[in-house]
């Protein structure tokens, strides 16, 4: 591992976050496994599976996995855990448009500074990539704004992880968002059935976005939509005269008394979020709202836990 790669890894894979995940290994594993297996109902289940460890039985576990020998010897219920040689391919789609660089004051703090949506998404992406690679899943990366900025094919080795992390680390937010055409491209490019993880604030035309999601589903990809938004964007808490400068179009700004538009603004955000959430429900897409106020590790862990 090169020095820069190592730095990238350490910076993105927040030690405390990884520690937390490690400390709760049992659960985390269950989470990851439950997530992967539960979500994919893999048709390849049972092939090239290597035993990994035992774990205590919990209601809901498949009785086929129960280790009858252990039960016979010790009268305890253990489940055999296998190291699955995955056939899961996943692609992380990271939004690197200008709007993602918004941080706000309420976001969870990292290094004493509120984390921007973009950083939040990068950390999430890195963590997910780490977890997936750790269980020998193939992970690819696409970052985009109006066009694809960086692209890495899906691979599952540790070396690839480092490259991937370095790539994520090198990403910079900027430019406008236009997700529709890019998602269409990606849907076409990824041939094998994959897990598509989208990390974005989803600003832009919701109709076009939903159309692109349809495309993913049409290509029989699993889609996980991690909707990252800052708390300020959801509550619009400003009350003094403000000059809102557009992050995507430099030089463009609006000067106004926030109180005058708050109701209308919130109404619009509400409609936007609801619209996407409803569409995801219909498309059986896993829609995950991510408020940057929540520390991203907590968010990730709880998110994984909920998908056990």
């Amino acid at each position: 591992m090169s020095l820069s790669e190592s730095n990238a890894a350490s910076r993105l894979l927040r030690p405390d976050a990884l520690d937390r995940v490690a400390r709760l290994e049992l659960i985390a594993r269950g989470v990851v496994e439950g997530f992967i297996t539960g979500r994919h109902q893999s048709p390849y289940k049972g092939t090239s599976v290597e035993f990994a460890e035992h774990r205590q039985y919990v209601p809901g576990d498949d009785l086929r996995d129960l280790d009858w020998r252990v039960l016979g010897k010790s009268d305890r219920y253990y489940v055999k855990q296998y190291k699955e040689e995955t056939n899961l391919r996943s692609v992380l789609l990271v939004d690197a448009s200008g709007s993602m660089s918004y941080a706000g004051d309420r976001a969870a703090q990292i290094d004493g500074r509120p984390v921007s949506k973009f950083d939040y998404a990068r950390y999430l992406a890195a963590s997910i990539a780490y977890l997936l690679v750790h269980q020998q899943d193939a992970v690819g990366l696409v970052s985009f704004d109006t066009q694809i900025k960086a692209q890495l094919p899906s691979r599952s080795n540790a070396r690839h992880l480092r490259t991937l992390l370095a790539e994520i680390d090198a990403l910079e937010a900027g430019g406008e968002t236009d997700m529709g055409p890019i998602f269409d491209d990606i849907a076409e490019q990824v041939h094998r059935r994959s897990l598509v993880v989208i990390l974005s604030d989803l600003f832009g035309d919701p109709d076009r976005l939903i159309q692109a999601l349809h495309h993913f589903r049409f290509r029989r990809h699993e889609v996980m939509l991690l909707h990252v938004m800052a708390d300020e964007e959801l509550t619009f808490p400003f009350d003094s005269w403000s000059d809102f400068r557009d992050l995507e179009t430099p030089g463009s700004h609006e000067q106004l008394d926030p109180a005058t538009v708050r109701a209308e603004y919130l109404e619009r955000v509400r409609n936007h979020v609801q619209r996407i959430e409803t569409a995801c429900g219909q498309l059986k897409i896993d829609y995950v709202p991510m408020n940057t106020r929540t520390p991203f590790d907590t968010a990730l862990a709880s998110f994984l836990a909920s998908r056990r």
Partner: protein
């Protein structure tokens, strides 16, 4: 308009504060790098117009509030009679304020904003300059600079004694005057006048305001009668002329009753204006009108009338006392008392009277003794104004009415002719008196004399009336003497008969060429029996003496047949000549002429029983009596008068040759209030003209003529002289008009008569009056109204901003349903514990 705190007007710049805050807010807008611009922009597009309107409303209200508060603090002051209509200008300025506020929001270009603020500043500065200019102007108008002489005229008329609130208006006026003197400077001098029927100078010389004025004010009493502002101000001007201070002011404190205002006599006001001009400096007149009472109950004795012109002991006289309700509500007086001289009062009832209406109380009285009698009618009513509850009248009654009947028939008393009929009519036989009654005294005493016996030396003036009956002609000297007799107050009744010579009557002229008779005899008409008859036409009667006979039930004069008469040709174009009645053909029946102080009556019918049958009518006797009384009534002193500053009364002499040299030219006269003044006597034609100055107080005046025995009313005069029965003086009555008790307020038109001609200022209240006199600019402040407006604007602003905020919050209360997984649990640990617990539970 001026401002009490003019400099605060610069505070109008405070109007810019809300605008500045708005601009500052914009400038100091916190920059926020924002990602969700798409929602913001879409929201803005939708709401931009509404936001603008809301902002405009709030900004306008806030600027208005600032402007109002500053204006109120500047204490704007509307001077009375300001040339600039500030009540229009102030709203305009405020409106400009609002417009500037609005433009400040709408204009995006800073240059525009600066321009607008500059324009506004220009408006404020212009307003300030205008106000300052006005202030200088008003201060110049009202400044006193030096010490001043102030004449305070207090209305002391009867109407001021009416209670208005706690005390009478007179007391209120005195209080205001006291208040005014307390505000004057030490070196100012004050003259106080009480004006009613007469103007009383309370302080003969201007006094220092630091003097013992309190006691003086306490002692002031109303003088009664009517307030005559022209006289009062004129008197004040005279008093001011005596003062040594260069600056002069006249203050009139009245109740603003229109009575006595003389608005219909602008010439009097013009004269007053000229009088004021003659003072070293033309005085400013400050008028202060106290409010008239709202509740007012007042009945007044309006008049005392007698039913006859000639009163004698021969019969009862009807005395009618008219009572006027001058108050605002129905009144029921307890009654009316009439007192003749010092006799016992007699009472009569009066019905309830509606406001503005009158009622009559009727008394019957026989004047047993000749002379002047004082009748005093008093109203028994408990009303607000006592001064007009009594009234006086002087009635002169005769012991005897001497009549000279000149008979021209030449046939003596034995022949029945007109003279005989007249003599019988005027001296009814004694047996006509009703049996059982005490002998009725006869008033008339007829002396019959044949025409040829009449000489120039005949003492005509011993008779009250001379009758020329069927006289062909008299001698030229007699004619001249007779004319002189009439001119000096005698009465002449001409009854021309068949013998009368038109040549004489038509040519009977006075020294100055005027005809002595009222009409030419013209043609004698004899109506043949075949062509019908003529009658007198009562419908045509206009003469007062004939009018009493008009009533058909009481008079049958029209039944008399007239077959011959003189077709009288009244002297044309002579205002002294009047036709008093006609025959049914249209020819005159009675023609009257006033001549000097006397009167000449002429009939066209001979009244001789042959050319007409009038003497046979029942009404003949009263007809003749009325005619004779009518001509005889004149020539007396007229004892009843209206208030006058200078009252002239002619007093006939006993003899025509009474022009004695060295006679007293003034005689004492006692006024109703007991003081004695002197009346001047001016020798005139057949008597003397007495002039009484200041006869304005109502009541009885007594003229002492003892020093002039030759005048008919001196006490030594013959029994026929009508001097006062009670004493040696001639009573004269001045009757006030009952309208003084009516309390009709002055109209603007009335006041403008004064305002146009004088340097007039009407003070709305005591403060304004004091301000106008001490040299401050009188007027009224309007800051209270501005403050009220400001409170209203505060409420409006508060309401508007709350409403707008409410409208904005309405949609913002619903939050976006966007909850991270992590937020649903406090921490991941909780989630883990929950997981473990569930795992254990399953175990």
């Amino acid at each position: 308009m001026t401002f009490v705190n003019l400099s605060i007007l610069f505070g109008l710049a405070a109007v810019a504060i809300p605008i500045a805050i708005h601009l500052f807010n914009r400038r100091k807008a916190k920059p926020i790098d924002w990602g969700a611009m798409q929602f913001l922009r879409n929201s803005l597009v939708n709401r931009k117009r509404k936001i603008l309107i809301e902002e405009l409303i709030l900004m306008a209200l806030r600027c208005l509030l600032a402007g109002l508060i500053v204006l109120a603090f500047a204490r704007p002051f509307l001077p009375a009679g300001a040339g600039v209509s500030w009540l229009v200008l102030i709203p305009l300025i405020l409106m400009a304020t609002v417009l500037v506020a609005l433009a400040g929001i709408v204009a995006r270009d800073p240059a525009w904003r600066l321009g607008l603020l500059g324009a506004f500043a220009a408006v404020v500065i212009a307003t300030g300059f205008l106000a300052w200019n006005q202030q200088l102007l008003h201060a110049e108008t009202w400044k006193t600079g030096t010490e001043q002489d102030v004449a305070i005229v207090i209305d002391g008329s009867d109407s001021m004694t009416v209670k208005a609130g706690e005390a009478s208006n007179f007391r209120n006026a005195v209080q205001e005057a006291r208040r005014l003197t307390q505000s004057l400077r030490a070196e100012d001098r004050v003259t106080i006048l009480i004006a009613g029927a007469e103007t009383k100078l309370v302080t003969p010389d201007p006094v220092s305001v630091r003097g013992e004025l309190d006691q003086l004010f306490e002692s002031l009493q109303p003088v009664g009668g009517e307030f005559a502002p022209v006289d009062a101000i004129s008197a004040a001007a005279t008093a001011l002329a005596a003062g040594g201070n260069p600056s002069k002011k006249i203050v009139v404190i009245s109740d603003g009753q229109n009575r006595g205002w003389e608005a219909d006599q602008p010439a009097r006001w013009d004269f007053l204006s000229e009088t004021l001009d003659r003072l070293p400096t033309r005085p400013k007149v400050v008028a202060r009108f106290l409010p008239l009472p709202e509740q007012y109950s007042n009945a007044a004795v309006a008049s005392i009338d007698l039913s006859r012109d000639v009163i004698g002991p021969d019969r009862e006289t009807e005395v009618r006392v008219r009572v006027l309700n001058a108050g605002y509500q129905r009144i029921k007086p307890a009654g009316v008392q009439l007192r003749v001289d010092d006799g016992a009062p007699i009472s009569a009832d009066v019905p309830p009277i509606e406001p503005g209406e009158t009622a009559e109380a009727v008394f019957r009285h026989r004047f047993a003794k000749g002379g002047s009698h004082v009748l005093r009618a008093s109203l028994l009513a408990d009303d607000d104004l006592a001064a007009d509850d009594s009234q006086t009248r002087v009635a002169a009654s005769l012991d005897e009415l001497p009549i000279l009947l000149i008979d021209g028939s030449g046939s003596g008393a034995n022949t029945i002719g007109a003279a005989t009929f007249l003599e019988i009519a005027l001296s009814p036989p004694a047996e006509e008196s009703v049996a059982g009654q005490t002998a009725v005294r006869r008033l008339t005493r007829v002396t019959r004399i044949a025409a040829p016996d009449v000489k120039a030396s005949t003492p005509f003036s011993d008779y009250r009336a001379v009758l020329l009956v069927d006289v062909p002609r008299v001698g030229a000297d007699v004619a001249k003497e007779l004319a002189q007799y009439v001119r000096s107050g005698g009465g002449l009744l001409i009854v021309p008969g068949a013998r009368s010579q038109p040549a004489f009557y038509d040519e009977w002229k006075l020294a100055d060429g005027q005809p002595a008779v009222p009409a030419r005899l013209g043609q004698r008409i004899v109506i043949e029996e075949s062509s019908g008859t003529a009658h007198v036409a009562p419908d045509s009667f206009t003469h007062p003496a004939l009018k009493r006979l008009v009533d058909a039930s009481r008079g049958d004069l029209a039944g008399g047949v007239v077959s011959s008469y003189w077709r009288l040709a009244p002297i044309e174009n002579d205002p002294a000549v009047a036709v008093g009645g006609r025959l049914d053909q249209g020819d005159p029946f009675l023609v009257e002429r006033t001549l000097g102080r006397g009167r000449v009556l002429m009939t066209s019918v001979a009244l001789d029983g042959s050319g007409d049958s009038l003497p046979a009518q029942v009404s003949f006797l009263p007809f003749i009596h009325e005619l004779v009384y009518s001509v005889a009534a004149l020539g007396d002193v007229e004892p009843n008068h209206a208030p006058a500053k200078s009252l002239a009364v002619f007093i006939p002499a006993k003899t025509s040759a009474s022009d004695e040299a060295g006679a007293a030219t003034t005689v004492p006269i006692t006024f109703p209030d007991g003081r004695t003044e002197r009346a001047t006597l001016e020798q005139g034609d057949g008597g003397a003209l007495a002039t009484i100055a200041g006869a304005t107080l109502p009541g009885v005046y007594r003229l002492d003529l003892s020093s002039r025995p030759e005048l008919r009313y001196s006490p030594e005069a013959a029994p026929s002289a009508a001097s006062d029965a009670a004493g040696a003086s001639l009573p004269l009555s001045i009757a006030a008009s009952p309208d003084e008790g009516r309390l009709e307020p002055l109209t603007e038109a009335d006041e403008s008569v004064a305002a146009k001609r004088l340097d007039w200022f009407r003070a709305a209240d005591t403060e304004q009056m004091v301000a106008a006199v001490v040299g401050d600019v009188p007027g009224h402040e309007i800051w209270k109204y501005l403050a009220l407006c400001a409170v209203g604007v505060v409420l409006a602003e508060s309401f508007a901003s709350r409403w707008i905020a409410g409208q904005r919050k309405l949609g913002a209360t619903q939050s976006v349903d966007f909850v991270s997984e992590g937020d649903r649990l406090v921490t991941f640990q909780d989630r883990a514990r929950e997981f473990l617990a569930s795992a254990r539970g399953a175990n």
